[in-house]
Structures are given as C-alpha cells and as structure tokens.
C-alpha cells in the first residue's frame, strides 16, 4: 500500500502533496478544538499500535501478501481529524525513519491511508451502526477503508501525464486485490473496535 519513490509521475507527486498539505492545514484547525491531553494520549497509543500492526505482513500462499493498514480503525475510534493525526504520525515515522513509502509519494500515501481510509471507515461505521449493529458496521468500515485506499492508489499510479495513462491496469489490480484482502482488515477492525468499546466505551467516535 505504501507507494515508493519512482512510482509516481512528478505532476501526480506535486498534486498529491498539494492536496495532502491542504487537508493537513484544514484538519489541524479542526483538531485544535478536539485535542485535550487524554485525546493526545489516545492518538499516540493508537498510532503506536497501528505502526506495530503494520509490521505484521501476512503472506498468502501464491505470493501475495497484505498487512493491516488501520486507517478505518483510526477513523472509527478517533473520528476523521484525530484519526488523520494518528495516521499522520505513523506514516511520517515510516517514511522518514524507515523509508517505507517514498518521500516523493508521501503526499499520496497520506491521502490514501490518512484521508481516504480514515474518512471511509468513519462514515461507513456511522452510517451502518444503527442499521446493522456495531460489529458489522466496523467490519464494513475496515473493509471499505482499505478497498477505497487501494482504488485511490490505483488512480494515482495509473495517471501519468509524462508516462501515459494506465488506469485500465492499475485500478482493477489495486481495487480487486484490496477488496479481497480487505476482508481481513474488516474483521480485525471489528474485533479491535469491540474490544476497545468494552474497555473504554467513551472512546469510539462514531
């Protein structure tokens, strides 16, 4: 899911950086009203947990693999802005300390996993919770978050003014694979949300 250096056209790199920085400014303004010391602690511990969970790659026989992304979980537990802040911390450390995700792709990776995944998880959970119950809502939220993040990644690497347009290749590969592998993300998200809600019922934002 982390786009490395070299995969993005320079125009796409610049556009995604601009969109990410615009959202960062907007989100930080909104976070200012929400962030108290207990919330700061929660953002931090969730960011640390997501960072650790992303290190567990699950190889699937046949050569494909996945890892937990956590954007949907962050949105469900913290809401769209604090959830974004948690993912921002994770992705910043992954990129700057471990070069997991390219510096030229940081804007795109932030958009995919920090904005699209977080918003998808948050809104799906809020919409579905009264209709399907909490567990199913969190499961769909987690699944949708990684599927839409995959779609966004496919759009970004498939649109290249200098190299040509290959959306017919990138969008199906990224969306279909993540929709299939995302079931694991959905189940993990639902289990974690249920556990957190049992221990800290005031936490779940949705």
């Amino acid at each position: 899911m982390h786009i490395p250096d070299g995969f993005l056209d320079p125009y796409m790199s610049a556009a995604t950086y601009a969109a990410f920085l615009g959202y960062l400014v907007y989100a930080l303004r909104r976070v200012g009203n929400l962030l108290d010391p207990p919330k700061a602690s929660l953002v931090t511990v969730l960011a640390a947990g997501i960072f650790a969970a992303q290190m567990l790659n699950w190889p699937i026989p046949g050569g494909t693999s996945l890892h937990f992304v956590g954007g949907g979980l962050a949105g469900i537990l913290l809401g769209p802005y604090l959830g974004f802040l948690a993912m921002f911390m994770v992705l910043l450390v992954q990129t700057l300390v471990f070069h997991d995700g390219g510096i030229t792709a940081l804007g795109a990776n932030m958009l995919n996993m920090g904005v699209v995944a977080v918003l998808a998880g948050y809104h799906a959970y809020r919409y579905l919770k009264p209709r399907t119950g909490e567990f199913a809502a969190a499961l769909v939220g987690g699944w949708l978050s990684i599927t839409l993040a995959g779609l966004a990644t496919g759009l970004e690497i498939g649109v290249s003014p200098t190299l040509g347009y290959h959306l017919d290749v990138t969008v199906p590969v990224m969306t279909v694979w993540h929709a299939a592998l995302g079931i694991v993300e959905g189940v993990a998200t639902a289990l974690i949300v249920a556990r957190v809600k049992a221990l800290l019922p005031e936490v779940v934002a949705g």
Binding site: K39, S41, P59, S65, Q94
Partner: protein, 103 residues
C-alpha cells in the same frame, strides 16, 4: 516519556508484544512464501521503477538495523519506531495541556 500514557499501559504492552512477534510475519514467513503486495503486481505490469535504494537517506531502510541479523533488526527497528511515535505523542500531549491552561 510514557507517563502521559499511564491509562493505556495494557495497550502499550500489546503493542510491544506485536513488535516482538513481528519478525515471524515480516521476515520469516515473508521469505518462505514470498512477499508481494498488490501494488508490486501493478508496478510490474507497468514497469514502474522502485527508486528507494537510489534515493535512500536512512540506515534503517525497510526496518533493518546495520550490524544486526534481519530478525533482531526488525524488532529493534519496530521498538525504535514506537519510541519516535511516543516522542511525537509526548510533544502533542504537552501542546494540548498548554492550550488547556491558556484556554
């Protein structure tokens, strides 16, 4: 550094445990089965060049630590990443506390 996380001690312990078992999934199984994300599949089809090595700036590339075997390095890198996140969180907590006093 972790005083501001006192209420979440259990979550932190689980986080560290995840890092301790992470080489099983991130290194051992990945080498046995082959690690290939959907993004790698799409990039191969288009011939997109991964320039990570050319542009690299960190000694901890891909969760390795110079001089350590891959599995142990993966654990140390994970603990390092968590320490940096907790450091950022401590700054965030201090900022929130200051805003609370001023507000």
């Amino acid at each position: 550094m972790t005083g501001f996380l006192g209420r979440h001690r259990r979550a932190l312990i689980i986080t560290v445990l995840l890092v301790l078992v992470s080489p099983v999934f991130g290194v051992v199984l990945a080498e046995m089965v082959g690690y290939h994300e959907p993004l790698d599949v799409a990039a191969e089809k288009l011939g997109l060049p991964d320039k990570t090595s050319e542009l690299n700036w960190t000694p901890f590339l891909d969760y390795t630590v110079p001089g350590l075997p891959e599995t142990l390095g993966y654990i140390v890198a994970g603990l390092l990443g968590i320490a940096v996140i907790l450091g950022l969180g401590a700054l965030l907590h201090r900022l929130a506390a200051r805003r609370g006093r001023e507000g």
